[in-house]
């Protein structure tokens, strides 16, 4: 292998001969054993690889990442409302048994609400009778004053 060919392959595949095509490796090893220029070129290439690794870049700061997050899309308002509502009602996880139970509780509540006026309260009944039977302005004034 000539030095020019060695240099071309070195720039193409890097300084580690093990990463070269297998067919090229034996003649490259022969050249390195015989040529001081070849060895010098390989050492320059190894130094370059190490030197490249020394060029580090600092990670983005937390404040910079926060500024990037400010660019991200926000949830649409309707979606937020829907999400909140579904969280409150937990509609997705409500089972049919849960819905039946909820219906039953609601029905009992309505039933009690309707029944309540039927339960007579003597004091209230007397009050309503008095109010309906005779209108007395003093009575109302007392109530207002009270």
């Amino acid at each position: 292998m000539k030095l020019e060919r060695f240099e071309t392959l070195l720039d193409l595949h890097g300084p580690e001969l093990s990463s070269w095509p297998e067919a090229e490796q034996p003649s490259a090893r022969v050249l390195l054993s015989e040529s001081a220029d070849g060895r010098s070129i390989q050492e320059d290439a190894l130094f370059m690889e190490d030197a490249l690794n020394s060029y580090s870049v600092a990670m983005p700061s937390a404040s910079f990442e926060a500024s990037l997050l400010d660019l991200a899309p926000s949830a649409p308002r309707a979606a937020v409302k829907e999400s909140l509502l579904s969280r409150i009602l937990n509609i997705r996880v409500m089972t049919s048994a849960g819905m039946a139970l909820a219906s039953m509780v609601f029905g009992v509540f309505i039933g009690l609400s309707v029944m309540e006026p039927v339960i007579l309260d003597d004091e209230a009944d007397a009050f309503l009778s008095a109010a309906a039977g005779s209108f007395d302005s003093e009575f109302w004034q007392e109530e207002d004053a009270g």
Partner: protein
């Protein structure tokens, strides 16, 4: 389980802040690193990173499943944004303000490392843009030649040629640094 990129993009588009934060956390270091090494300074690199993420969030809702790999697309957008910025700088004649190295204080080994880093940075900046991009994607991002070719929208052979020329230029530039280092060690 870490969600895949496409799932994250869908969630970003729906306004899921947690998904956006995950995407930023995962990819902003890569975008920033490519941009900083392409442009040579932090301020421009941060500007480009913001521009890239604006595009990411715009694209999130339109992303077509299975059409392209997100990381490949992201690298392509990053490199193109860097090209644009470099072109604008050339057109406006603005000189780059290079990041200054820290004061040369501290142990000799650290000083030497810093000097080498500065020399590498300067050497990379002398490379033509396409060689620089190919080298950064290959060496620092660890991408294969076919991946680099897809990002730069060129053939694999063209990538090999760019890499080969970039390595030769850097090797020759940094050979002087190596000689100086050997001289200082003796």
């Amino acid at each position: 389980m870490i969600p895949d990129d496409e799932a994250l993009l869908r969630r970003c588009a729906d306004g899921d802040r947690q998904a956006s934060a995950m995407l930023i956390n995962q990819y902003s270091p890569k975008v920033l690193a490519v941009a900083q090494r392409m442009l040579g300074n932090r301020e421009d690199a941060e500007d480009v990173t913001q521009e890239v993420f604006i595009k990411v969030f715009r694209q999130a809702g339109k992303w077509e499943s299975g059409k392209a790999k997100f990381s490949t697309w992201l690298h392509r957008v990053t490199v193109n944004q860097c090209y644009d910025r470099l072109r604008k700088k050339r057109e406006t004649g603005m000189d780059e303000v290079p990041d200054m190295a820290d004061d040369a204080s501290g142990p000799a080994g650290q000083m030497q490392e810093k000097q080498t880093e500065v020399r590498v940075k300067e050497a990379i900046e002398t490379l033509p843009e396409r060689q620089r991009a190919a080298l950064l994607l290959s060496h620092y991002e660890g991408l294969s030649n076919p991946e680099t070719a897809e990002i730069l929208d060129i053939s694999v052979e063209a990538v090999e040629s760019l890499l080969s020329r970039a390595r030769r230029s850097l090797r020759q530039i940094l050979a002087g640094e190596r000689a100086a280092l050997m001289g200082r060690m003796e």
